[in-house]
Symmetry: C4
Subunit: 354 residues, 4 copies
């Protein structure tokens, strides 16, 4: 294969390099994968209307998330268990993020601990994606460790009271390979984990059922605020109603997301939902988007509809699978360059002009 020049190329490379069950876990979506393809295809329903004959010799690609400046408006979404893609796992990803001066959202289920992440890339903008556990003490410890390590925000995932139905994981009896572990919990005693057999259907779904709190509700945001002073972003809002509800809780931001179409198949594509959410929020908190972002014009569309930044999940995994940190970095560089090109061709010199 020749050197990859697009996210698509990295995806093709990853498909070849990864063991089937890992590829399936990373690439698949819930049920019929209707929303999975829609997340990508929906971008093509919108048309760009460029301005011509503007001086675009100097452009500023910067944006900010939760008050922290980023070099261009593409950050890294939390994806679980990165060491399955490449032995360097999350370390490679966070270092790539650090070098590109964009933000890194670490998964609760990383195969690297918050401590090791921080040690590897102390200058990186780090946020913690959070699943709230039945065991609130475990949750609290994790959040507070992150805060002490300089994490700058919590992305609370709200679309996962239980795991979505992913046929391929069920078929593969998918669970984390035995030589890896969810490092954030290594020190903790999670007795619920012992109920997971991992031999019958999706081990991951069983783990979620055993550990994650399906009774999570709006009032828990207040509780979360009692244990941390980091700003809270809700990850997984996909309608205007829910966005309005979130604003009432004084959250710092909303990440318009359907979890990469891995939870409830049939929900709207994120770019389709974005506008109603931006309207509903009416400037009362920041809005971001993830899901299906694959090139620079996708970024343009999300920003033009009111997102402050977009997050990418799978493209990072494809870069990582291809050749570790270098691959992730190249994916980010390509997106940066494509975004810059598209911005200039739109006749804009900064994201405010979009």
């Amino acid at each position: 294969m020749s050197a990859p020049v697009s996210v698509k190329d990295y995806e093709n490379s990853a498909r070849e390099k990864l063991p089937k069950s890992v590829w399936d876990y990373y690439s698949s979506g819930a049920n019929n994968e209707q929303t999975l393809s829609d997340n990508c295809n929906a971008f093509s329903r919108y048309r760009l209307r460029p301005h011509v004959l503007n001086d675009v010799s100097k452009v500023n690609l910067g944006s900010s998330v939760l008050g922290t400046p980023i070099d261009f408006p593409v950050c890294i979404a939390s994806t679980a268990m990165n060491k399955m893609a490449h032995p360097t796992g999350e370390i490679a990803v966070v270092k790539a993020a650090e070098s590109m001066k964009i933000g890194y959202m670490q998964s609760t289920w990383a195969t690297t601990s918050v401590e090791d992440i921080t040690a590897a890339a102390p200058g990186a903008i780090r946020w913690l994606q959070l699943y709230i556990y039945k065991n609130r003490e475990v949750t609290k410890q994790l959040v507070q460790r992150a805060e002490r390590l300089g994490y700058q925000g919590i992305f609370l995932t709200v679309d996962t009271p239980i795991l979505g139905k992913r046929y391929k994981d069920v078929k593969n009896n998918f669970s984390l390979p035995s030589h890896l572990s969810l490092e954030n919990f290594k020190a903790l005693d999670l007795k619920e984990l012992h109920t997971v057999d991992g031999e019958n259907g999706s081990g991951l779904a069983q783990m979620v059922a055993a550990l994650i709190d399906p009774s999570l509700q709006w009032s828990d945001i207040a509780w979360l605020k009692t244990i941390t002073s980091m700003p809270i972003v809700l990850k997984g809002i996909i309608t205007g109603e829910m966005a309005k509800r979130a604003v009432k809780e004084n959250v710092a931001g909303i990440l318009v997301s359907n979890h990469g179409a891995r939870q409830l198949d049939g929900v709207p594509a994120t770019i389709d939902a974005l506008r109603e959410i931006v309207q509903a929020v009416d400037g009362k908190c920041e809005v971001y988007l993830d899901g299906g972002v694959r090139n620079g014009t996708d970024v343009i569309k999300a920003i033009a509809f009111g997102a402050k930044a977009v997050f990418i999940g799978r493209p990072v995994l494809w870069g990582l699978a291809h050749n570790g940190q270098e691959g992730v970095r190249h994916v980010l560089k390509m997106l940066r360059e494509e975004f810059k090109t598209a911005l200039q061709l739109m006749g804009c010199t900064s994201i405010e002009e979009l």
Copy 2:
């Protein structure tokens, strides 16, 4: 083939296991099969709008049909001649239904008699799908036998004055294999049957033409009420006008159905028709849906649009063909689990909240 984990997997298994003419009979639809694919595809035209951060730790999946509680809102639609799929035929199906605590609608053209069904699964919720015969005496006997055996309702099929044009059956000269028989009529002398040669085109279409009364009309519902006190559901309503007309006859329910797209090609997909029918009925009787239901989110959509339950036809046949009662039971279990997952991900704890 690995163990099936979705209805689609069962369909693929059945395609391999069944003799071609049986597969064709079970799977095909009328004419160009436009409505056949539309029945399934139409579900993807609707988007789910989940509520997040609701406590979904405890959910109640139950619904009811004609006043009888069911464990979750998926019941079994009448399909003719199940012994072609598996030697255990209808017995396997009704037992699966019994064990899952959902309703079983037996076809007039079952290859097992109402008596044998009842003996095998006395605790099952049983309804009789009815074709009204030219020979009204035959009709009356069948209905009254069912009522005596504890059947709890009649699903009167209204979309089949004659059989739809199914090219594959014509090509295969399809008729019931000679070692099987329509057990409900074994004792009765149906002289019309002798006019069927079964060598020229669809033997089934000829049987329908010989036996079924094409002069059936609205006034016959009154007649039906004179011979049974079971509640009557009209099966095969696909427009709001007809639903309004049905309400005038004081029927107990309407099953929005296009007979699995096997009668008149070009009619609406059932999920497309459901809303106008629910509106037309305006709560005056129960409304159900069948046609194209293949996973948990399909069920969610139908229930959200006002159906009390959905019925499945082919998925049951695929499970039966794969491995008898166990297959049917697994199909039902999968749909139960998928429905539960989808309900929770919608942020709902019961079907009333949809």
Copy 3:
């Protein structure tokens, strides 16, 4: 191949049996063939809304064209040069039409003369499709011969001042095989024909350019009325504006047609155009449709939108290619049966109830 049970089967058979250049000529459309596929696909944009529980034990399929009763509302559209499909050519077709009691529209460019047609099927309902020649004397003779032979109407083709661009015919240097001739003109001296070399591009297009009058205009209808008292139908109207204009000329009927998508690619599908035309005509003349009719539900849709009858072109050629008169007859019988089935399933006992 097993015995054909649908028009599609006949099409597949014809594709195999016919020489490539003949298949290409018969099957192809103009330019990109956008309208060709649209003619068929457009039918699936409309949904049937059946009435149930009507007595459909007795149905009357009959309609009429120009006052002449036909047994069911499907007639035969003019297609040129039928002997390329089968040696029996037009004779087989007209005999099939006669036996089915529906109308036969003979092409000006038949490979059988009006005299021979009439001799073979004196009881057939015959109409003459007319191209008006630059040589008006030739035109007049043909019309008057037909009238004397008992032809009952003229279908004046108005969409062919020149021939449409059909790439395949150009590529094949298509022209009539030398052992066949346009029998209606055998006796006449058409000196323009000598300008056609038939070696360079579509010989047919050259013939049209040489013979057909591209200056034909509305006022010529008055001239046509001076030479015949047969009723005149305009074949090739595809917009409401033109239909209104036609009504002003007191034509007896309008055949909504785009010449089987062989003239101007990009015009509307006929079923899409039908409704605006029926509305524009407002009952002032009869309206028919041809183009893309392939099964009984297509007929239902056209009749429901106001056509008195539909005409079929290619399906007749496919039947003819398969096995002559028998094939044509079977195509007609299938369409009759499918139409009957669909009518009954619509809950109607005659075309008036549609």
Copy 4:
């Protein structure tokens, strides 16, 4: 391969004949090539509504561009580096244009100089497509050379402050083969060119970045007018807003274009944009279209929506690749003939009647 009879045939021939990297450069579009396919497909969203029974025996295909009559409304769009398609390159193209009496727009990046073009086809209608260089002196010299040679207009490309992202060129490290050169600049000393290495990604993109002025703005049109008295057309307008803005600068014309979908993927198809632009311009300058024109009915649609002429890019390259001048000429002849046919079948005798 048999002799080509359509633009599609020429495209297929070119795909076979050209080296892969040249084919890729000529055929590809930006990013996902969404707009590339849309440019062609969009034409099929519009329906033609022919008039029948008009005398079309005599038709006038002529139009004019910037006051110069053309024989039919199809001209040649600027495409860079034609000698890669065929050794005769631009000379073949301009001679074909001359012989067909339509206009030729020469690319700034031609592999033949304006002098050689003029010498080869002194009778041709010639316009110069202009990229404005950072080095304004170079720009000025080129414009003034063209004007002295009898060029009749400037098509100022406004959609290329930088080059679009074309994955295939990046992958191929595409740049001009070493035996060819951009002849218009041979005499000039373009020191910026030395910064281009052509070994890493798209050499063309690097050349554009080095040479073309990304600070080009509306006020530069005034500057352009100070150095030439040729009329100025803006090439690359795709929205009504920009068209209105252009009118303010008193340009002579607007070429609705998205650069053959090679610059910003996701912009509207040109035929979709045309109408809003014609409306915005409101007759204050001429409007033309390029992008996706592949047959006579495409031309009809653009003219009917208000364009005075259309331009073709790739079809010319396909003809050139097939067999030089003869191929280009045949492509033009086919389009002329197809346009004539379509015009007659529309019932029109000139473009004014469309």
